[in-house]
Symmetry: C2
Subunit: 345 residues, 2 copies
């Protein structure tokens, strides 16, 4: 567990830089209602996993000592130039935040990161426009890293494709909810686009911006695999982590009929997943009812199945790192992969 | 009127190229629901003024004979290179379409371009995601013009800023509806962002992409001024053009309490604008009621006031073209400015 403590400390340190950069990237401007709404979730905090992964990925490419201070704004490129990797990290977190703002509205979720969702704190119209502003702002930031125009163009193209694919993943997520039979492959394809692509982009953008050509594909593959693992583990946490720690109602995926690897497997085992918390809402459901539902899923072997798949994806992700030079920062990427499926919130 | 006929013919010709490029830019892919929704308004047609302006602006820079066939995909740059100005034109129309999809949802408008709005034909969630996909796709297209990376980066930065400002303009539009007293300056500032910036970007992108540095600012200024005029004239058409020609209910701005230059002026003249069509809805309002309301606004001099302001903005826009070389294509830009405030739909 000492590696996990190290990862938490490493994430915490980088989160400080990221939080400062995020609020600077979306300043308080007129109209205040729009920009206030755009800042709302940024101010509420969050794990900042994707931008932290981007920074750690950059550090592994430059073989930076993970404990030494570095200037993320002028991070050394392979060929003597530099790029602002903190701006790139901020950009991917803005993409993540824009999709959360729109998804919360689509799912009509009340709470996010322990605060009211943007459409609850403000209104639906403001949530749509605030998401759109964050989307545009993400591109503006990635244009300003100071990397060469060729590299910036490639980074932008990757980010734009990623945004389109996340929308496809979210659409697939909604469509799968409407179907009773979903295969594991369909579920994995959905989370690849909903979650995997942004992890892949976060991990590989530094290689693009800093001119480490050979590292682009391995880092993207690493990111995609651990992104899958992260999403599966997130779905497990929804069942097992107390509401106050989660920042939203425990069991809400089950109540809302969301497809997760756990319930895709359970259904294949003959469990009538839709009946487990039938007639419950996120507001009405009790811990005891959730415990009973989780016991049924545990009995069907579905939690164990999901845990094993997440662990497999982590191992496959770590294998891709073999293509990179061995150093202390690469070790941190390895430990972070493990952390994603061992964290309890 | 022969110049206006010429403009209509010129727009019509370019519209053909643009329509083909738009549908090719958003192909039918899986998930079909998402991409079908993204294509819905593109297939419904539209005036395509912004992309046509972009093409005509490119033609004026290259001194192309307006009646000769040109290859928009390999359009000659100032220094011997080339750029795909049709891709850039498609990009600005995708931005326009993404904002329409989201705005129709925000305003809960039923009809757009004579077909059901995306959130009516599909649903709210799909409209949000389809708008997001169009937004991302606009950036992807502008990355692929084949212009030099430096020029592409500048073009992208301009487009990203434009998207953020349109959201600000839309927010301002909503906020102004909630206030009884609005000044002409506040109204102009709102339409500058809601409409002017995308016209400015459309007119100036070719100068950026094709390396005509001196023309960037004049064309942007031309675009902003005629964008203002276009918006004011559009608001006038909402009062005077039959519903079947408009493709949406005549008088809907008045029914919905939208701020327009006409009613901002009328209110300053002491007309109780909110009472004109009080208790009417777009579904209930009759032509006779709208005629009565328009007569009151006419009596207050408000239609004439708006017409004069639109005409002033057109003249100011045309003046900016003096900075460009005189040629037949520049003449078409001049005539197009006039056309924007003389068209009857």
């Amino acid at each position: 567990m000492s590696e996990l403590g190290g990862v938490e400390q490493a994430l915490d340190h980088r989160r400080g830089h990221i939080n400062d950069a995020l609020l600077a990237a979306v300043p308080v401007e007129k109209p205040e209602r729009l920009h206030g709404a755009a800042r709302h979730l940024l101010k509420a905090g969050g794990k900042r996993l994707r931008p932290a992964l981007l920074l750690m990925s950059a550090e592994s490419l430059a073989a930076v000592d993970p404990d030494s201070p570095v200037d993320y704004h002028r991070f050394p490129a392979a060929d003597g130039g530099s790029a602002d990797v903190l701006a790139a990290a901020t950009s991917v977190e803005l993409v993540q935040t824009f999709t959360l703002v729109h998804d919360d509205l689509i799912d009509d979720d009340d709470v996010r990161r322990g605060v009211p969702a943007v459409h609850r704190r403000y209104d639906d119209s403001t949530a749509i426009l605030a998401g759109d502003v964050l989307h545009a702002r993400a591109f503006e930031l990635l244009l300003g890293t100071g990397a060469s125009p060729e590299r910036s163009m490639r980074a932008l193209a990757r980010l734009a494709r990623t945004c389109a694919e996340i929308c496809e993943g979210q659409t697939a997520d909604i469509r799968l909810e409407e179907r009773s039979q979903v295969t594991v492959e369909e579920y994995i394809d959905m989370i690849d686009r909903k979650t995997g692509v942004l992890f892949a982009t976060s991990a590989s953008l530094p290689a693009i911006l800093l001119g480490h050509e050979d590292a682009v594909d391995p880092l993207a593959s690493y990111g995609r695999e651990i992104g899958r693992a992260f999403q599966i583990h997130d779905d497990l946490l929804d069942l097992t982590t107390p509401t106050e720690t989660l920042g939203k109602q425990r069991g809400s995926d089950l109540v809302e009929g969301k497809r997760t690897l756990v319930n895709v497997h359970a259904r294949q085992q003959g469990v009538d997943v839709d009946e487990l918390l039938a007639e419950e809402t996120a507001a009405s459901v009790t811990d005891a009812r959730i415990d009973d539902a989780v016991a049924v899923l545990e009995e069907a072997g579905s939690l164990e199945f999901a845990r094993e798949r997440a662990r497999e994806f982590v191992e496959r992700g770590k294998d891709h790192l073999d293509a990179l030079p061995q150093n202390q920062s690469r070790r941190l990427l390895t430990d972070t992969a493990d952390y994603l499926v061992e964290r309890d919130y």
